[in-house]
Every structure is written in C-alpha cells, then in structure tokens.
Symmetry: C2
Subunit: 253 residues, 2 copies
Amino acid sequence: MKIEAFTVQGIPLIQEGDDVGAIISKLVQLDDGDIVAIASSVVAKSEGRVLRLKDITLGAEAKRIARANDEDPRFVQAVLNESEEVLIESPFMLTQTHAGHICVNAGVDRSNVQDGYVLLLPKNPDASAKRIKDTIKKETGKQICIVITDTCGRPFRIGQVGTAIGCTGISPTKDWRGEKDLFGRTLKITNEAIVDELASFANLMMGEGKDATPVVIIRGVKWQEDEGGVCKIHRPDAEDLIKGALRASKDMR
Amino acid sequence: MKIEAFTVQGIPLIQEGDDVGAIISKLVQLDDGDIVAIASSVVAKSEGRVLRLKDITLGAEAKRIARANDEDPRFVQAVLNESEEVLIESPFMLTQTHAGHICVNAGVDRSNVQDGYVLLLPKNPDASAKRIKDTIKKETGKQICIVITDTCGRPFRIGQVGTAIGCTGISPTKDWRGEKDLFGRTLKITNEAIVDELASFANLMMGEGKDATPVVIIRGVKWQEDEGGVCKIHRPDAEDLIKGALRASKDMR
C-alpha cells in the first residue's frame, strides 16, 4: 500500500455562514476515494458555534466547580451547557457531550477564537460531515468521505491525539473478525477504529496554532463505504467499565 | 505539508534471532528523516518472546480469574506474569505491563503465533527500538526514527487503534505550549502525542491477519530528534485520575 497526504493551502479564516464544502471544493482537486479530514474548529465556526462569555447566565454548579478548579465560572457554565454528563469534575472537567463524545471540557475551546469568546464543538458532527460531503459531491462530482477531527487527551497516557468526532461516507471501523491470521486461524477480536487512526494522522499534519492548516486530504487508503457516523463508536454505557468506575468514584465523594 | 507512506514488501515470517533492523535495511531504500514504524509482533518474535502454554506454571490467582472470565488459566497466568498491576480483572483484564504500558491482557496475543503458544510484547520496547535504529544506521547510514506499534483498545470508544509502545530517535510529543494561536494569544495546553498519531496511521496501513505488512515507512513528516522513549508518555500514577478510579472500584469489591 502506498498513500499520500497533503494539507490544503489557502483556507481562509472561517466565519459563521461560510460554506466549508464549497471552499474545499474550490481549493483542491479531489479524486474519487479521497478522505477529507477537517478540523472541528472550522466546522464549528461556520455553524456559528461561538459564544460570548459575557452572554452566559451562571448557575450555582458552575460557580462551585469554578472555585474548585480555579477557572472562569462562565467557561465552566459553557462546558456544563454542552454536557450530557460530568464524569470528572475536578481538577479538570471530563464530560460527555450531548452528541455522545467524551472529552475534556466538552471540547469547549478558548484557542483560535477572539478574546472573550469560546468555541464549541459542532452540535451534531456526523450531520455536519454529511452536509459538507453533499456539497463536495455536488460541486466536484467526486465520491469522497469526511472525517471531522478534534484534539483530545486520553487516560493513562500523556499528550493529546487527533480523534474523529464526526464522519460520513466511511465505515468508522474495519472489522477483521473472521479473517485468517498468519497461521490460518480465525481472528477473534480486532475491530479497528480506522476513523480515529485517520483523524490522528490528519491532526498531526494540521498542526496547532497560527500556522495550522485545518483541512488534510489522505489519498490511497481503501475504506468501506457506509453512512457511518462516529456515533456508532461511542461505547454503550453498559459496556463501559471505566465510565462505571468514574461514576462510582463520583458517588463516593 | 505533503507526506507519503508505504508498506515494506517482502518481510519474511520472523523467527527468534532474526535481525529486524538488517532485514528492513535490505528491503527498502531509506531516506534521512524517514519514520520506520514496526509492528510489535515482529519485534517480539525476533526477541523470542513466544511462550508455550503448556510450559506455564499456574497459580491460584490465574485459576480464579480464568473461572470468572471463562478463559484458559494458562493464558491468564501469562498475562499476570507480564503485569505490574491488574487494573480491571473481569470480564476482561486491563493491566499495566512491567514496561509501564496499560492495555488489555498485557498485550499477550494468541493471533499470528503457532497453536499452543502465545506472543508477548517486547520486554523493553524502547530498548528494542534503539537496537533496531542502531542497526539501520550502521547498515544504511541514514538518520531515521523508529516507532513500535501495537493495536490497543481504549476507554469510551469502540474499536482498537494503533498505539506506540516503543520509540527512539523521535520526541514522543510535540509541545505547542507557548506558540501563538490565530488571534496572537499563547497556546496553553496542547502537547501532542505524535508517536501515537504516527502509530495509529501506520497500524491502519499494516492491516491485520495473514496479509498484514508489519513495517511501514512514513516520509515527509518533520519530527524532533530526541532519545525519546514511549516511557516518557506513560502518565505518572499521581496524575492519573482514571487509574485512581479503577483502583478504588477494585478495592470496593
């Protein structure tokens, strides 16, 4: 297998109402089979998911957590508003978003947005991916898939990695179960979360900060067509022992 | 940024004593700056990290866990032998290896090894990476870095992704703290675990099962030279709230 991947040059500073799919279609010559990875920040900005901190109405819970975490209570309130459940409250917040994604601060971000504002994640990143894919299909006629990425921490290991928060057109996992191993026996367990592997690599290419390039094209990877959706790889509650342990720890306090 | 990546064709079935660095040096024309990603399975086999199940001496703990998990007690004993600490015992085992890596079954694997045997992880994957890098440097004169990958599950999300269990020559993280964002402010948090992002993508290219290609070259990514070592990104105990919650859950039972 041989693949190539490149960043798309010339993506402007995205504003609410900008059509990300149309912008990408104009800036790059896409091929059938391309994987188009897009940083969640530009998708969120195009959808107006920017909040002015002084417009936020504070509740008691936000004030309490803000005191414990030495954090701006308006920022904490923004995180609470975006969260279905708080799994860790202090010294940092780990929460599950309404879309089902578990990450620090519900993905609410103070970087790469004007002072006094915060950037939220897209409300429904799978749906955002689908809209962008439909536009690209209309503009270019090409059959591509979309992965929307965010930079996320993880348990047990230092550092953040790119993670898929939305996708469309691609099956989020490749199921190897049933295929044969080197010795002819049937593989039993591997269900590979390829959208996260793609998101990680795209994130590495995008970079962070002022010189970041929020769109990456990956060409040459074979992927399985599927309406997909990252929602399919959010682990169901009952199967998630680590979520269970976090809930139990919270109840103990 | 434009990168290319390709699988190395013709890697033979690796046996104990094979020199992985020399084999790679013969099969591929490397360039300075290449990232050489290698599946842990071939490194482990070259180091004789294969265990015959019938040679394993069983203890009481292995028998108890095996009953609870409906598992072969010899396999459980192999996992216990490779583990510094058991974080989840049942219905599956999540443990920390002696090298500090946290994963299911301490990475002990029944796939791609002869019947009746199990494959262990390399004992010290950072040291394995260094040995291979030194050989490649001697054979080719090229300045490359090495990432040793394994396929690992993770909390909260379905599916496994490639993860770095050893590295050398490359700094395992890229620290963006102190750089400026789009609006000129200083980035505060991002410390990107690039070796894991590289491992994820390499893993996707390697595949699983009988047609897997265990060595991938990634060319065109800028990385920072560093003696490195994945051991640097194992989160210290005191900072790991999730490990803490798992220990507390275990104590409660």
